[in-house]
Symmetry: D3
């Protein structure tokens, strides 16, 4: 079974531990992007995956591709051209101090991609699933059209389509997001969102929710999922719910609305190692479950357990095996040494 992700891969530059930017003389680097993270996660779980993007011809972009290759992700349809690979600086928060991200992702190779760069018929030849996110679409003026063409081709090839709304206020306004994303929704089989995405990107709001204050209402989200399904005909909607107790400890759970029913996962209390990539690993988990024909509850529980583990792992890739996810689902969150 083969998964195809399309989007950006960036350089992430981050100080060690909890150091703030002015305190450091070196940055740890890794390569990340929502869809790239998902390719690695699914590849680590044993699936065939391919990541499609546009990258400049230089050693740093080569490094990003090598890192994908290291985890078994096929990069043979990556288009080379343009000037820059995007990057962002991440300062990790702790306790009451939030993490901080500084983006430098304009004028990148992917932002200047054109529809003719990608031969989707070729790319989808052996594919089973296609995924894109609401981060990728606003990166450049032609990315909405590229995603649309990919969706059309996916449908022609019998490839399932999923989309993680993933709203980023640094990239566009809710109005811009809704204008571009709504027309793409009819192609989407499985929708993934976190607490605020549905409202910002599709205009559907959970009642009685205040994220900053940590107030989350699963009932409200169920309503949101139902409304979304009715509006766009998704076969499933997955939603993550993060309770941010502090920058060091979070609660984490999810729900899945499918077949007219709403399933809820257990809630994990996580002592965070690295929360970035949590949503991507949830989406990967759902897709893994759907492709392996788990039932709805098992699919959701798998996705939540997988993304719980991710947050105990440094950097954005979820280096968790299927066996490790099942062990946690089976109730072993005790962290005893595996000898």
């Amino acid at each position: 079974m083969k998964f195809v992700g399309f989007g950006e891969i960036m350089v992430r530059l981050a100080p060690d531990g909890y150091l703030r930017f002015p305190q450091v003389d070196h940055f740890n680097i890794n390569y990340t992007g929502a869809e790239a993270n998902m390719c690695v996660s699914l590849s680590y779980m044993g699936m065939d995956t391919e990541f499609v993007t546009r990258l400049p011809e230089n050693d740093i972009a080569d490094c990003a591709m090598r890192k994908m290759a290291m985890y078994g992700v096929d990069t043979s349809h990556v288009v080379r051209g343009g000037d820059r690979i995007g990057l962002y600086y991440l300062e990790r928060g702790a306790s009451q101090r939030p993490s901080k991200v500084i983006y430098d992702r304009k004028h990148t190779a992917i932002s200047e991609a054109r529809p003719e760069d990608f031969d989707w018929d070729e790319i989808f030849r052996d594919a089973d699933w296609f995924h894109f996110t609401g981060i990728t679409v606003p990166l450049g003026p032609r990315l909405g059209e590229i995603c649309r063409q990919a969706c059309v081709a996916a449908k022609e090839h019998g490839v399932k389509v999923s989309c993680d709304l993933n709203y980023r206020k640094a990239l566009w306004t809710p109005e811009q997001a809704q204008q571009v994303m709504r027309p793409l929704m009819p192609y989407v089989d499985v929708l993934i969102a976190n607490e605020e995405d549905a409202e910002k990107v599709l205009g559907v709001k959970a009642p009685d929710t205040d994220i900053t204050a940590g107030k989350l209402s699963p009932e409200g989200y169920e309503q949101v999922a139902r409304q979304l399904t009715e509006a766009y005909g998704f076969s499933a909607v997955g939603i993550t719910m993060r309770g941010s107790i502090s920058a060091s400890v979070n609660e984490w759970s999810g729900l899945l609305y499918t077949g007219g029913k709403c399933y809820r996962s257990p809630k994990y209390t996580i002592q965070l190692v690295d929360r970035v990539g949590g949503g991507d690993s949830f989406a990967s988990g759902l897709i893994y479950g759907f492709l392996h024909e788990f039932d709805a509850q098992k699919t959701l529980d798998f996705a939540v357990a997988a993304s719980c583990l991710k947050q105990s792992i440094e950097y954005d890739f979820n280096l968790s095996t299927v066996e490790e996810v099942f062990r946690l689902m089976g109730g072993d969150g005790s962290g005893r040494v595996q000898r």
Copy 2:
């Protein structure tokens, strides 16, 4: 508005993470001292600051001054001379294991400072606030007199004076402290203390308090603040209250007694990154509030929030902006990523 601090700046040598001394082959270094930390904190919040001290003529002392300059602190009245810059070794505790400090701060340049080294009329020309602490006074035989002269000059220039009692048993006994510090109190406008300082340095004890056992009574501290105010005529007394659950998790709050009333802050539960410098950043926060004419409650809440953030930051400087402090005061301690 310009803040002037007078005191010592030292080299701090500390192993990585939670390693104990015999386990390490390198030390992280930074430069620290109660008043120096406050200069950096206030400078980071946008104020003009100056740090006054005495340092030897060598590259390591230069490094300490450069680090001040990096954060915008004026060091133009630092006196050069003597043999040594002080230093201390810090081993960070965790869970039930306490942090450990080994001082090597005798015979330093500052300990041998003489009154004629400092021209306070010159130093206070554009100043608005002067601060010294109970750590600085016992460093050398002439430092009490130097602080007294500074206080007198401050009063002449209309400069407000604050003092953080900051008792250190490695430097003197309570008897010695009381003998030297009491005569300085009449010059002080704003007094800052933690739980045990008032008793050790000024002989005023909070009833029903046992710090090691983590037993803290806000009511007792209010009484202490009132007694202190009556005895010395302070315009305000700020007290920090630390509940040491373990070396990894602390509770943190404060109270402010001013105008005959006692104000209390919210209490934060902090997953500690580095607790050293917490009191200094509380003092900085109070001074920032007073100079910006916040009301009493806002001043206290600002100081407690600022010093809460400090403890999520490595090393002794509080690299928190005013905006970050306000965000926490506004209730956002969720630690969500700031993109």
Copy 3:
């Protein structure tokens, strides 16, 4: 007073912090082994100790011996020969993700040791206590016999014998363990075990216990200790109880059965720095207490406090002084800075 430990010392290779194996390009190294850890712990507490093992003639094995020497452990009866020093790779877990160990300890020098390598009469000349563990016995075909000879010699020299059952499923099955370990028990004065050891190694099970689910019954363990005492005539049985809340936070307590009575320790909640070596430091603490003729409750409390501190310390050695253990026993787990 002199303690002698016999067993393996290995190279431990571990990524920094919480990184997983594929993410690293360097490993932190240290040298470890159950009995070696105990020698260091007891040496750090001021006792004379000697560690006996077999190691190859190469620089890496020399490093292991130098590290012992650094902490004052006598290694003058270490036998040199064979090809390899054992090693293991340790990946540290966090939150719901367990730690992971990969052993590479076959064909080592110690595994090929023969009885004639060790002159126990010589080794025990000034000794007071001998300790071996259930990790050492299965390492090679002749290690059971070697341990038996050591026990016999110990008895002749009036040396007390203790054994930590320390079952490792990677080394043998319960059946194999019981066959070899049971005949050694009559020589043992003090038995040490964790929750699952007694069942696996000696076939005695605590009722109503499910370790993975974190379910521990002190009453059950008391029963186990009584049964063991009746079966083998131990003068004391010490048992550790670990409540694995997560890979980041554990509960920790112990019980001691001696003189027909069962003593229980306070329970500590530990924010883990490094949990490996916890059991070894408990055993060391018991032995320290017995040799210094603490009463039973004090002996147990000392052992539990010592092993609680260990888990706030990186690597497997318990670098805690007697004074630090007493301070924690005295109730100071607040982690306030020791200046």
Copy 4:
């Protein structure tokens, strides 16, 4: 005496030691740019300096400014705005393997600067010297005009002007360079160039020179300097000559043409630590000499010795004191320990 530099400051990201890009998971960072390097070098030698640039409003740009402040450089006229601070990746060469630079410096804040951003009358109020380079001019469409206005203002304020041609083929072609740079030359008092700059930027070629083959003819350079002086009326022309024996060992010398005479320096054989910034520190040395009214030979020797020392120092700033330069000029290149 005050020096003003105008140009770009960038983030430099470089692997440790001699590692190539695909081998690393972290980068060392520092902040650099030709004119910024010169400000730091001259500040380290005790001069007043100011660096003028345009930088975005974010923490990383703040870090660049703090690093300048740490070395005493005034940044009070830095204009804030735009999206990006430039950056480049540097891989250090060794032996036969050359160092490699990957630029990511398009669309930066400085590249979008406009003439009205800078109030040169204000900036030059207390200034004695102004410097710009041929790297800055091609960064954006309006930078030639900005430099011209700065030159005009400098002349009005009696401020000396120097320019380092510093040709970078990644930024423009020789044709473009000549078209923009030639009209600026009449404002320039002191011209600085390396072996290939004069030809590329001003069209004047040293006969019989092949840089790659390491063939350098001082006589040819003298001729170039004379021609340049005749064409543009420079009061002095300084040229560096690098003999690249390998990426690990270089020869280094310079010449100065002034008052119709040509002066030559000794030639140093340098075991390179970091060759980047060598030219900048030569230019700084010349300016230091001119401002302190050294005679021509001493000025040249000072500049060459200073830039020789720079190449034994990591990163691009020349952290050499005047005393250290004089010691080397005095013949002590023995590297004996200074206790």
Copy 5:
């Protein structure tokens, strides 16, 4: 064009810089082996490559395979099984102090490989070249037979065969080597050897050579190459000549005997970064030249230049591009910065 290498891949553990074993608390790790190094080198030059070995089922072996994958090497026919991946400790020498290697490579998965583990017909389906070395053969009792079967299959598939003699005295005696290696020589098209290999492995000695004293006679080597060719009918024999001036500086050149003629390369003086892997990269260079039908002189010069560059690169892989090798062959060893 596809290259297949068969051999061992090991963990290499090395202190930072020039530190000796007792001085370190961490090791840098990478994965290496003669044939694996060659696969990476040729893959980095743009060729298809496959590496065949046997590795245990554990995370560390997975890491070795991921590292291969990162550089594009196909590992799809790697056989999984056995207990151990081999490892060695490397201490880097400097000046008069030699580098030191401690092997721990017995009982590894590859050493226990059996002929039936490998389906050479499948492996060679699209292959053009097969390579093995004299390091692989002595690793286990059946490896000579495995190599023989691979050679036979290679011949049947029209795949060229090369062998690097690579004598290691830690693995076997000259007598053992000659007995096993001689029968394999008739299958070999291209033989590669360093100064001492031909004598030790095939019994052919260069007259007048004393390697330790740095005495190398190209004439002698020519004679050796001729003798070898006459004895075994090689189409080409490549020999590297290392002049060990010290552990920090080496001379490096090679010769190629083919078609009855002997070609000599230029001699490079190398300031060593990491000399390990020099011979492997020479062999890779020869194979690259032969497969791309360079003429004999160009093939040799390419191989020597490539392996010269390798020695300026950390670790054992030659991360040099074809373009970089050509640039050095073209005479640019000046190490000037490539911007």
Copy 6:
């Protein structure tokens, strides 16, 4: 055979690689002192050694003692007391930039030592050789007397005495040195000196020598050695000669005057890793040779080869085995890998 050294052991704090002080945020630490270095070197060569000093009661001093113990040095007569362990900051030079040392070694425990602290009869019970240096004597007002008493006791116990003059201008003037050191010379059997020591400490100058200019005359040194022998009756005088080509490359040789004859060693060209401790390892080599009754030439050659190797090793201890020294003496300075 047992060697006893008496002197200071200090903390050495040094940046990584070639970084200058203002560039670093961490220091590498090790523990060093002339006589301590010699104890470690001789212990590493297999001898019994003991180091005598006075150290304060704190963890950092404990670390220094543990490091000695790690290398097998007996520290059982170290006296504990006083406030401080000395320290110095070392910045490593390169090429034309010299290394730089900043001492902070006043008011240390050893500087306040008193004669009654040391029971030399006890210390020398099993000793064969006693060594002290001209660094130790000026550390405090009573150290000359302590050394004198040690010398007297040594003579009574038939223990040989050696002294390395080791002049440090930071500690005293030549006049002071001569006044104190001359009376100690009659007790000394073997005198060790570098180029400038004899002149500064004993007033005997080599003609025609200019160290800074790298001008060294072996003939002159022979004359010095003869004069010294005639004046004080030394049985042997060893002198090191360092030719400082640069901070990266040195020449190194020695001479030994004994029995009325002068022996000269080969001269090594060293690519320096760490030159500090070179003289100490020369002295250790001489003592090793004398105690093992090597003839004069072999003793000298051993000492020079040993100290050559030291300078390829980081930090001040000479971690070279006797076998390694003999290999270099035998002519193998080629640095080929020892597998």
